[in-house]
Amino acid sequence: MKLGRPAAAAVLGSMLMISLAANLTPGASYSHQFREFPNTRPSARFPLGTDDLGRDRFMRLVDATGASLLLAGSAALAATLLAALAGGFAGYFGGWFDRLLAPTLDLMLSLPWMFLLLAARALLPLNISPLASLILTYALLALLGWAAPARVVRAGARQLRESDFALQARACGVSGSRLLRRHIVPNLKPVLLAQFLTSIPIFILAEANLGMLGLSAGEPYPTWGNLLRELQNPSVLRPEIFATLGVVALSICCFQLVLPMEDSRV
């Protein structure tokens, strides 16, 4: 188990490096259609075969991996920052902002995540580029996914505000801003890191679900969700079609291993 975390981090790092390296390789493209090779089985030239339009499935998977990992990470970072700002401010300062934030968080958490995402994602414009739709999807995940981390950060900030060391610091005449900067924020860092790492797999799974419902990036841009749509066609259910599902499951597993066990407990 001790080796689990570094091994998981190494797997995730390798996945990201391979996808970045593939993007720099000349001639490799996720959208190029080999018209003479539609729906081929795996071969030396096409390790995962081609789809019904003749596109190299391996290249598409590699590109989707890079996009999903980078964008899910960016969305998780944005959501954590939003949570840190809103939750930290409400928890530390309390007052009207805290009273306003509490029911807002209740409302956002009471609505099923998938329902909210579906409603919001479907309302984006129809005539935008595939890349813009992909970025908008993850931006939406960040905008709707900050509530759960904010609740944890709010509780953490409140606990720290009422802690003995904060009381002693105030009694010693330490100013509010210094207390926040030097004591509260550094003590909130582990909570924020845990929330960041927890958010990434949640966002990856959300994008995969949205993609399967046809609400992620538009064609020809590949994402894990878009590639998983091939599973909907029972006539082409061959082992290579499951490669995307395997990569998604592997990456989520790795994120779960990277997250310290005590952070995922009740």
Binding site: L123, L124, M212, L231
Partner: protein
């Protein structure tokens, strides 16, 4: 009872306020979203300019939010939930037709997920073999790593029971919490003493462990309803089951504002009601135990 009445009134007030806020926010979100003014039908070449103009006029009726809400609340007070723009049917009728399907899927999912989680969590906690507990934990984690939509389509394609998909998605999430709760309960000194004195497993479970973990279990049951509905959306959409989840997807894709507002109100009301009921039962349990 005297103390409970103001609390009940307060909770009902909070419930109503949250539901109204949910409706207003969804309406506002739909209205300000950049795609609101685009109707899929406008891109359909079969419609001529006059048809497109009438589609735009239809949409313009919902453009101003305040008149929309005023009309909507007046009609809702009379029991009229409005008309669906995309289905051209009364929303109340659509929901009445589809609610039993979703209720069935959710009930089967929650019951199945909890039964499976409980059946695996208990031996994982009681069994002293770390390998056994670890294997079950790993199985739950692997299932959790698969997107629910992918799980749904795989079960559907291989002819499995589609109503069991929600249970399969719910089980690992419930299992994780349940195992931790049971572990915490079983490590309490009085339970260790009871086990050392040779009290039966069932007696320890039903008389000591479950009552101790009941408040958290009830809170988890409330959350399960929200998770089950969230899972029902891709399951119904991909497996072509005519439920509320599929209606939500179709309404979202067709930008059907009245349906989305009503569904948000219903979903908010139901999830808040579930949580409040379980909170109440848990609070009552705490009072009784005290």
């Amino acid at each position: 009872m005297k103390n409970r009445l103001p609390r009940l009134i307060g909770q009902l007030g909070a419930l109503t306020a949250t539901m109204l806020a949910g409706m207003i926010l969804t309406g506002a979100l739909v209205r300000v979203s950049p795609g609101f003014d685009t109707d899929e039908r406008e891109l359909d070449p079969r419609f001529d300019e006059s048809s497109r103009n009438s589609i735009r006029a239809e949409r313009a009726a919902n453009r101003d939010l305040l008149p929309f809400y005023a009309r909507y609340f007046r009609a809702a007070l009379r029991g009229d939930l409005g008309m669906s723009e995309s289905f051209q049917r009364p929303i109340g009728e659509l929901i009445r037709d589809r609610a039993p399907v979703t209720a069935g899927i959710m009930a089967a999912g929650i019951a199945g997920g909890w039964a499976l989680a409980f059946a695996l969590a208990l031996p994982a906690v009681l069994c002293r073999q770390r390998l056994f507990g670890g294997s079950i934990g790993m199985l739950a984690r692997v299932v959790m790593c698969v997107p629910s939509a992918a799980l749904a389509i795989l079960v559907f394609n291989f002819g499995g029971p589609v109503r069991g998909i929600v249970a399969l998605v719910l089980f690992p999430r419930v299992f994780d919490y349940l195992r931790n709760l049971l572990q915490a309960a079983y490590s309490q000194p009085h339970i260790l003493t009871a086990r050392a004195k040779g009290l039966g497993t069932a007696r320890i479970l039903f008389r000591h462990v479950l009552p101790a973990a009941a408040p958290q279990l009830l809170a988890l049951a409330g959350v399960s309803a929200t998770m089950a509905f969230g899972t029902a959306i891709p399951v119904e959409t991909l497996c072509d089951l005519p439920g509320i989840g599929q209606l939500a997807w179709k309404a979202a894709v067709a930008r059907d504002l009245p349906v989305l507002v009503v569904l948000t109100a219903i979903v908010t009301l139901l999830t808040q009601l579930c949580n409040s009921v379980f909170d109440w039962v848990a609070a009552g349990q705490g009072v009784n135990r005290a």
